[in-house]
């Protein structure tokens, strides 16, 4: 593409040793492009962090008025701000625990056992991941309406477990597939029964996979707006609250909470990278996908 067009000198076998200025500039195009794109990805994050320190005159918070830390202090006593966050944390924690358990079990069944109806199981896991979120949410709404179920915390929880199971299965499978069964067979040969082999051999090996699946589930749950909207009734989760209060401008407390979430993710990813560096494993595989 751009870099290839800028390097006519490198055609053929008789490649000159000292690259021309043109091709040296050409070789910089891709890294510079990548760096610019990374900056672009962080643009709204930078604005969010900056405006979490803004001291707005009214509720609008559109222009910079001056630096203050007050937004960070004022937040904590106000239940209309903290309640949705608590609901989100509760839903994310519970849905992560349930979905990770169910998803790990399915992942084990798919990689370790032969059974009939495999392709049906695969489809049932794959389709929810690829269907537009609005369809998953709308279909659940018709379920609640036709059963006459009052929408609230439990309907949100059921929805979050549903959409998280598939992502857990995919993450766990990636881990299990890279693992040979010879270690499990060795355990069996040494007279361990099935249960001992699972807890002493299989589980410790797949534990990092379970952990990253759980993290992914937690992140997806705490961020979900679309599916939650259709199952929430009058209950407010953090994203629903954010959308509701930001119709005209973004109140500072939204940016404060966003900044705190970003900080947690940042520290977490930093620790993960540091851990990888220490283990010296460059084959850690691609990180998991977050944030729909």
């Amino acid at each position: 593409m751009t870099a290839t067009a800028a390097a006519p000198a490198s055609t053929g076998a008789a490649r000159p040793h000292r690259p021309s200025l043109l091709s040296r500039i050409g070789s910089l195009i891709l890294p510079v492009f990548t760096a610019v794109l990374l900056l672009f990805l962080f643009a709204p994050i930078a604005v969010m962090i900056a405006f979490s320190f803004n001291d707005p005159a009214g509720r609008q918070n559109i222009t910079w008025q001056g630096f203050t830390l007050r937004n960070y202090v004022d937040l904590w006593g106000r239940s209309q701000v903290t309640d949705p966050m608590i609901v989100s944390l509760v839903v994310a924690t519970l849905s992560t625990i349930v979905a990770t358990t169910f998803g790990t079990m399915i992942g084990l069944a798919l990689t370790r056992y032969q059974f009939r109806g495999r392709s049906a199981v695969n489809l049932l896991i794959f389709i929810p991941m690829t269907a537009p979120e609005i369809i998953l949410g709308a279909a659940l709404l018709t379920l609640w309406v036709s059963l006459g179920v009052e929408r609230g915390l439990f309907t949100i929880l059921a929805a979050h477990i549903m959409f998280n199971i598939s992502f857990v299965v995919v993450t766990i499978r990636a881990r299990l597939q890279g693992m040979t069964q010879s270690l499990e067979e060795a355990g069996m040969d040494l007279y361990a029964d099935g249960r001992t082999t699972f807890w002493k051999v299989t589980f410790p090996i797949i534990f990092p996979g379970i952990l990253s699946a759980a993290l992914l589930a937690f992140a997806l749950s705490i961020d979900d707006y679309v599916i939650t909207l259709f199952s929430a009734g009058h209950t407010q989760t953090f994203p629903l609250w954010v959308f509701g209060v930001s119709r005209l401008g973004i109140p500072p407390e939204v940016n404060v909470l966003g900044t705190l979430i970003f900080l947690v993710a940042f520290v977490f990813i930093g620790v993960q990278l540091w851990g990888q560096r220490r283990q010296g494993r460059s084959e850690a595989g691609p990180p998991t996908m977050v944030g729909r």
Binding site: P31, V47, I134, A138, L143, V169, V242, I269, R292
Partner: protein, 285 residues
């Protein structure tokens, strides 16, 4: 291998998760299908009357929204591919020890809520905001210029939000390529452009297909971007906006369900094509 005891274990392992997916995914889809064929109102209740006429009705009324959603999603897919490919390529081939760090940096912004990111873009891109306000003050743009609520702004927002869905599968595919194949091509007197298009790009096609699917499908069903960056302008509404309004505001469930099912049909055609391409066991692997 495969004794009856083992298949019992498999069934027990599958049971809770599969039952959950059946109750909260498969059955709701059937109920929504049934709802689309019902008539009545929210207050008097809905009766299944096999009203198939609702489908031609909603399609003739809203075909423009489907077309617009497809165009926006297609543009989004092409732009994310054009932007994402060089980035995935650079990280995979030139990232060296920083590969994983760079990938994590790509997804880091997406840990912050979708809603908050989109709201902040609305602020950045507002008529007198930090980008266009500044350009207007410098006299580089006419004072009545606006970007929010235009089709371009919606495609911009979709592109930003779905970029990692393109970059990650592309990276996975490009990273797997045996680089000796590219060297072999250049040894055989292929130019760098030829080596790229006829070796690297062809070998990365699984990633291109997966990334395009993972971008197009959520983009075509999105409604937040048109609501926030599109500033609720009906001229830039996508199908998702109408489905959401009919389900949650006007409570016109049958029409909303029918609109939803047409959208499902569009995505199912794409997913089925993809399934044929990769095989069902590779879907979740």
């Amino acid at each position: 291998m495969g004794g009856s005891g083992r298949s019992w274990t498999a069934s027990l392992l599958l049971l809770p998760g599969i039952v959950w997916l059946l109750i909260f995914f498969a059955i709701p889809m059937l109920i929504m299908l049934q709802m689309s064929l019902a008539t009545g109102s929210f207050d008097s209740g809905f009766q299944l009357t096999w009203n198939f006429g609702i489908y031609p009705e909603v399609i003739s009324q809203y075909w423009e929204l489907y077309l617009r959603s497809a165009i926006y999603a297609l543009l989004t897919t092409l732009i994310t591919l054009a932007i994402g490919y060089p980035v995935a390529y650079t990280i995979a081939f030139r990232g060296g020890r920083l590969k994983n760090a760079l990938l994590l940096i790509v997804i880091l912004p997406f840990f912050v809520s979708f809603v908050i990111r989109t709201l902040n873009w609305r602020m950045i891109l507002s008529d007198n905001g930090m980008v266009f306000g500044t350009l207007k003050d410098m006299g580089l743009l006419p004072p009545d210029f606006h970007f929010l609520a235009t089709p371009a702004s919606v495609v911009f927002g979709l592109t930003y939000n779905f970029l990692p869905f393109m970059i990650l599968p592309l990276y996975v595919a490009i990273e797997k390529i045996d680089r000796r194949l590219i060297e072999a091509a250049t040894d055989l007197y292929a130019s760098r452009a030829q080596a790229f298009w006829r070796v690297t790009f062809v070998l990365s096609l699984p990633g291109v297909v997966a990334g395009s699917l993972l971008t197009f499908i959520p983009a075509v069903g999105d409604f937040i971007t048109a609501e926030v960056i599109g500033a609720g302008n009906p001229q830039v509404f996508m199908v998702g906006n109408i489905i959401q309004r009919k389900f949650l505001d006007s409570l016109d469930y049958p029409a909303a369900a029918a609109l939803g099912f047409v959208l499902v049909a569009v995505t199912m055609v794409l997913v089925t094509g993809y399934t044929r391409l990769v095989g069902s066991d590779r879907l979740t692997a």
